[in-house]
């Protein structure tokens, strides 16, 4: 019997039989490309040899390269995993060459890794890599298994021929699990949410992505002839995915990632699958650049007949508004809801593209996200098509700061409901909705309804009536031009909108403003160019900004130098670590998790490192991460680690907040017997680490311009303070683009006795670690403890005797409303004082109010305590309806109370649902209703969309029990 069995495996295909010297079958043998003089070769990236790239480039010494003078493909070395891939061995850069033979810095790829399914354990981990020539073709071959699962063997061959306009890939997979496996063998194009956008031809597809959930993944699968993805922003590459036969691909498309492969298959033990595909690479951000390659493959392998369309675009000399076109089958009206797209083109210039032969087609043009114009043509032969784009409106923005042109941000709002309804748009059904959509919401300037200016700047926008606003951060006046009627531009002198902003002396010497959470296009979820990011830095008037891109270090050096930004601000170079690979964290749950997000600075920038100076940040608990940071050059004695947005938010099963991942229960103590598993893990020291998981210095209390989860982040902070975990609180914008969170709203005011010109980072960081900070979205809140002859600032680095007087001063710009001051004692609002700001007699333009409190009258005697302050407008009503100690529901129905009637899931109920514990519900939320886009009710909300004025101080800690330290508040 055994002899017979042994005989069965004697004629295996490719590497299916295993063996150290096996060769995967050459992929796509029927596909041919021709050119003059192409030569394919493979090489390794050497130190000093990282070639021209952009913020998407990931090539690092040791990585593997396939190059034929048309396309250059970089495959990560095994020890260079990126994002969600457990190992290297994956495509990380795809670039093209220009006609002059120069390599373009046009990579738009984060990475493509391989999966046999969508569980973390079904990602492929490669363990061996080699390269060789096979005739004229250059090959890189990898072998491995499912991650942490050696029972599924995977072999992949990347191949580049001399004239190929992309990479041929073949993957062979063998199942050695006893039971059959569900296998969805696919390339996963990791996008991150704001870069490439996947396109598939077909009814109601195109750039529309079928919706699905983590438990309904199959609902999102579609069989399509090919998938292409355009770079959307910048001069990137477009990619296409086509099977190397006449079969369609099976695609699951989403903004964060897209999986393209062969249909999900039940694969029994010992059975195998193979997947051959051609990944086309074309220069240009249009989908059409890559769909041309996909269609050429289909012509060769499936006999499809094609025609070429040369499109000429006349924009009447008025660029702007990101005109783009979808080509659809049939004669279709401009406002058609369901179409059958065949390709997509950017229309800032002309385009030439292939489409299947036959039938009438319509070019639907969008501009500013709005239906703009259309034209039809028949696809019975190669042809030329012309389209004229109707004129947009045009204004010239003239902004001065303190009387001189300078970097500024202008926010544009419709003046009335009619204009709002007419111009509200999203970008191809994706990303966020803006009104107006001046440009890609996550891309270059102008973006969403915001525009960066430095001197007179022309701006195209849809015709309508608009208000224009500008501030230079919260500590200046607000300039506004209201009710500006903008008609379609007729060639006359454009309207000039003048805005004059003046600085206000709201800050005292020794105060530096700072934003510790900022992203640019080095982050997977941002596509704002470096130059626009630094211009936004300057427009925010922040003194200190931490560059905290996801999972890699970036220093913005080139843009900072070009804009002379170093003279005006300090840039702290760090990163935000963002868990991608789910891992088992809690034994009490089946669900694997990530450890939330953490920011660390400073880290040395290494332009050639696989993560540009950062350590690999996956599969680690926080203490292990901190250890890796230190090993990568983070200075333990003077650096800062920040816990970001500690609660709520989840994306693709990955928690944004560490406290959420730990399933912390704020009705229970942090330490002691019988505490939840997550509480014990919060302060544990992982094996092999030099740091405990609570070895961070500060925690975000405010995140995002709308500050939508302030009550929850504050709850975590207050809970930990009460439990004796004294960490400073910070306030950051988490800005990724111009169109989302606005830099500096919120921000930190750091008491550091320094100025930009005399900046010393360790001294500044010491102030941050000590919590010498107030966080703000507008008001300036200062507090000092006067005890005898001593005056103390806020901070978590010392405990005071519980006596003395606290003097609190509130001040604000005229457009920042402040009506109350809240006194927080041990996490509870002990007192609320009405605030009436008066004109400051010394600081012109500043309004201020002052309060004095006796410490003994506020804090309880005989036990440790802490005292902090908040100022602004009253917080919206909120409550904890789930009774887990965490605020979860707001007054969503506006009836003045928070109860079950405010819960979205109970919207259909007419009576209170039954509960085990009265007043404690299984469903809850939201904390704030999704308002969508509403016209701002006041000037504040015009420049701080959906936000509200609020400032908080860090606490004064009191040693009430006299043991010499602050150790927490008694329960």
């Amino acid at each position: 019997m055994l002899a017979l069995i042994a005989l069965l495996g004697c004629n295996t295909e490719g590497c299916l039989g295993g063996g150290p010297d096996c060769r995967v079958e050459p992929p796509c043998a029927s596909l041919t490309f021709t050119c003059d003089g192409g030569v394919a070769a493979w090489s390794r990236v050497e130190a000093g040899g990282v070639l021209a790239s952009n913020n998407y480039g990931a090539a690092s010494p040791g990585d593997w390269v396939l190059d034929n003078g048309t396309v250059r493909a970089t495959i990560s070395d095994l020890d260079h995993p990126h994002y969600i891939a457990p190992t290297g061995g994956n495509l990380v850069d795809l670039q093209t060459y220009g006609a002059d033979g120069t390599l373009r810095a046009d990579d738009a790829l984060r990475n493509i890794y391989h999966v046999g399914g969508l569980l973390p354990t079904e990602a492929v981990a490669y363990t061996a890599i080699e390269a060789f020539m096979d005739g004229e073709n250059a090959v890189v071959q990898v072998r491995g298994t499912y991650d942490d699962d050696g029972d599924v063997d995977v072999y992949t061959r990347y191949e580049l021929g001399p004239c190929d306009s992309g990479v041929r890939v073949r993957t062979e997979l063998v199942n050695r699990h006893v039971e059959p496996e569900s296998v969805f063998l696919a390339d996963v194009l990791y996008i991150g949410g704001r870069g490439l956008l996947a396109f598939a031809p077909g009814e109601d597809l195109g750039l529309k992505h079928p919706s699905f959930g983590l438990t309904t993944l199959k609902a999102g699968l579609r069989e399509v002839p090919w998938v292409a993805a355009g770079a959307q922003e910048g001069e990137g590459t477009a990619l296409s995915f086509t099977q190397c036969n006449d079969q369609p691909v099976t695609a699951l498309m989403a903004q964060e990632l897209s999986a393209i492969g062969i249909p999900p298959t039940l694969l029994p033990y010992g059975d195998f699958l193979t997947y051959e595909r051609f990944i086309g690479v074309a220069h240009g951000r249009s989908v059409a650049a890559a769909s041309d390659i996909a269609l050429d493959v289909r012509r060769q392998l499936a006999g499809e007949r094609l025609v070429r369309v040369d499109l000429a675009v006349d924009d009447l000399g008025l660029p702007g508004g990101r005109p783009h076109g979808i080509i659809v089958e049939g004669d279709v009206p401009l406002d058609a809801e369901v179409t059958t797209p065949v390709t997509h083109v950017e229309l800032d210039r002309g385009a030439s593209f292939l489409i299947p032969e036959g039938g009438t087609h319509t070019l639907l043009v969008e501009r500013f996200g709005l239906p703009w114009t259309r034209t039809t043509f028949t696809a019975d032969a190669d042809q030329s098509v012309s389209v004229t784009l109707p004129a947009p409106g045009k204004v010239t923005l003239d902004v001065t700061i303190d009387g001189a042109p300078d970097h500024a941000l202008v926010v544009v709002w419709p003046s009335d409901a009619a204009t709002l309804e007419a111009v509200q748009a999203d970008y191809l059904g994706h990303f966020t909705t803006c009104a107006p959509m001046l440009g890609h919401p996550y891309g270059a300037d102008p973006s969403c309804n915001r525009v960066l200016v430095s001197g007179p700047t022309d701006l195209a926008l849809p015709p309508g009536t608009y208000d224009f606003f500008s501030v230079a951060g919260p500590f200046t006046t607000l300039a506004a031009a209201r009710g500006v009627v903008v008609p379609p531009y007729d060639g006359d002198e454009p309207l000039v909108v003048s805005l004059a902003v003046e600085s206000l002396p709201l800050l005292r010497p020794g105060m530096l403003t700072a934003d510790f959470h900022v992203h640019g296009s080095a982050s997977f979820d941002s596509s704002i160019p470096d130059s626009d990011r630094v211009r936004a830095f300057l427009a925010s008037r922040l003194d200190v900004i931490a560059a905290t891109d996801h999972d890699q270090v970036h220093d913005y050096a080139e843009a900072m130098d070009a804009l002379d930004a170093h003279d005006r601000m300090e840039l702290l170079v760090g990163l935000e670590t963002t868990g991608h690979i789910l891992q088992p964290i809690l034994e009490s749950t089946n669900n694997p998790k990530v450890v939330g997000h953490w920011i660390v600075w400073p880290l040395p920038f290494d332009p050639e490192g696989p993560w540009r100076g950062a350590p690999w940040d996956e599969k680690a608990l926080p203490g292990e991460l901190f250890t890796r940071f230190e090993d990568a050059g983070w200075p333990a004695d003077s650096g800062v680690i920040q816990l970001n947005h500690p609660w709520g938010g989840i994306q693709f099963g990955r928690d944004f907040g560490w406290a959420t991942a730990l399933e912390m229960d704020f009705t229970k103590p942090l330490t002691g017997d019988d505490v939840p598993e997550g509480h014990a893990l919060f302060s544990a020291t992982p094996a092999g680490s030099r740091y405990a998981n609570d070895g961070y210095h500060v925690q975000e209390v405010m995140n995002g311009t709308d500050n939508g989860q302030f009550e929850q982040y504050r709850k975590v902070w207050h809970y930990l303070l009460n439990e004796g975990v004294a960490r400073g609180g910070t306030a950051n914008s988490d800005s990724h683009t111009l169109g989302g969170n606005i830099l500096g709203f919120p921000q930190n005011v750091v008491l550091t006795r320094q100025a930009v010109g005399t900046f010393d980072q360790p001294t500044f960081n010491a102030a941050v670690r000590a919590g010498r900070i107030s966080g703000t979205t507008g008001p300036v809140l200062e507090a000092r403890l006067e005890a005898g002859d001593n005056v103390f600032e806020v901070g978590v680095d010392r405990a005071h005797a519980p006596n003395g007087t606290v003097v609190v001063e509130v001040s604000a710009a005229p457009w920042v409303p402040v009506t109350e001051l809240r006194v927080i004692v041990n996490g509870e609002v002990a007192r609320t004082e009405a605030v009436t700001l008066q004109d400051d007699p010394v600081r012109l333009g500043v309004r201020t109010a002052s309060f004095t409190f006796d410490v003994g009258g506020l804090v309880p005697a005989g036990s440790d305590a802490w005292l902090a302050f908040e100022a602004g407008t009253p917080l919206p009503l909120f409550a904890d309806l789930s009774c887990d100690g965490m605020p979860d529901t707001g007054d969503n129905n506006g009836d003045g109370t928070v109860d079950w009637r405010d819960v979205d899931d109970y919207a259909e109920l007419t009576s209170e649902p039954e509960t085990e514990v009265p007043g404690c519900y299984d469903d809850y939320g939201p904390l704030r209703p999704d308002e969508g886009i509403v016209l701002p009710a006041d000037d504040y909300r015009a420049v701080v969309p959906n936000g509200y004025p609020l400032s908080f101080t860090n606490p004064f800690l009191f040693d009430g029990d006299g043991d010499g330290a602050y150790t927490g508040v008694p329960r």
């Binding site: 399914g117 006893v178 699968l221 039940l266 059975d271």
Partner: protein, 284 residues
């Protein structure tokens, strides 16, 4: 297989007579181990040591739930079972699964269906008396079940025995079984050892019986596969009674049926339970 066939014919080169047996009484009273198995074609199962001639249909399935690994599996099949006694000591048997459904429950659920396994085998009685029987058996499971690019070819061979006790029997057996893949993929060959002991208890003067077995397997999953429990409820029609001392036996024609379940209790096997219902007609 060929060796078994030759041995059987050689052993039986004499006029066929009905061997009196309290265990293999041709009367339509049920006997032998629980027939529910975990693998298609009942690969590796301990078979009935008795020679019979019968035909019937069987339906069954299995359930696997592994929540921590986000995996579940539901199987179902319908089959035709045939047993042909070529002589008093030699039986040819086969199971032909006309339909098999395999459904994997995972984040991306998939299923496969179609013709199932086809198994062909032989049982040869080596020794038989009034009170006991010892047989050798073997079968091949042909690659007819649903597959993608490679189909399994499997074999098993073993020994099985039964001994009469009051109102029933004790039975058991051991087998080796193995599988390899046909196609351009790897052989993926593997082999395992199975065993089983059990008892049948008949309700006197009826055609009803209960069976309880303890099946065991080692090697199929790469380690200790399972130790479990299998049980069945059986019925049979036809004349009921022991053979006379001079060998006369009722002809044993009748109907039979069995509802069986098998559950691995220990080991690496993740299947929760397998179930099978079969009914048929016994001719001899």
């Amino acid at each position: 297989m060929i060796a078994l066939l030759l041995a059987a014919w050689a052993n039986d080169a004499r006029p066929a007579i009905l061997i009196p047996s309290k265990v293999c009484n041709p009367v339509g009273r049920p006997s032998g181990p629980v027939s529910v198995g975990l693998l298609p074609g009942r690969l590796g199962n301990t078979v009935d040591p008795c020679v019979r001639t019968e035909a019937g249909i069987a339906v069954g399935g299995g359930l696997l739930v592994d929540t921590p690994d986000f995996y579940g599996r539901i199987q179902a099949f319908g089959a035709l079972d045939v047993r042909v006694g070529l002589s008093e000591r030699v039986e040819l048997h086969g199971r032909f699964e006309g339909f098999r459904l395999d459904n994997v429950i995972a984040p991306v659920a998939v299923s496969a269906s179609g013709i199932g396994a086809t198994s062909i085998g032989m049982t040869v009685v080596l020794e038989q008396s009034l009170d006991h029987v010892i047989s050798a058996h073997g079968q091949v499971v042909l690659p007819t079940q649903p597959h993608v690019n490679a189909a399994p070819l499997a074999l098993d061979a073993g020994m099985t025995a039964a001994r009469a006790v009051k109102n029933g029997d004790l039975h058991g057996g051991v087998a080796v079984y193995g599988q390899g893949m046909l196609g351009r993929g790897p052989s993926a060959g593997k082999a395992a050892l199975s065993g089983r002991i059990g008892t049948t208890q008949r309700i006197t003067k009826t055609g009803l019986a209960f069976v309880l077995d303890a099946p065991l397997s080692v090697g199929w999953t790469g380690g200790f596969d399972h130790l479990g429990l299998a049980g069945a409820f059986r019925f049979g029609t036809g004349r009921v009674g022991d053979p006379t001392p001079d060998g006369e036996s009722p002809d044993g024609r009748g109907l039979y049926g069995e509802l069986g379940v098998m559950a691995p209790l220990f080991g690496r096997e993740r299947t929760l339970a397998a179930l099978e219902l079969k009914i048929g007609a016994r001719f001899r």
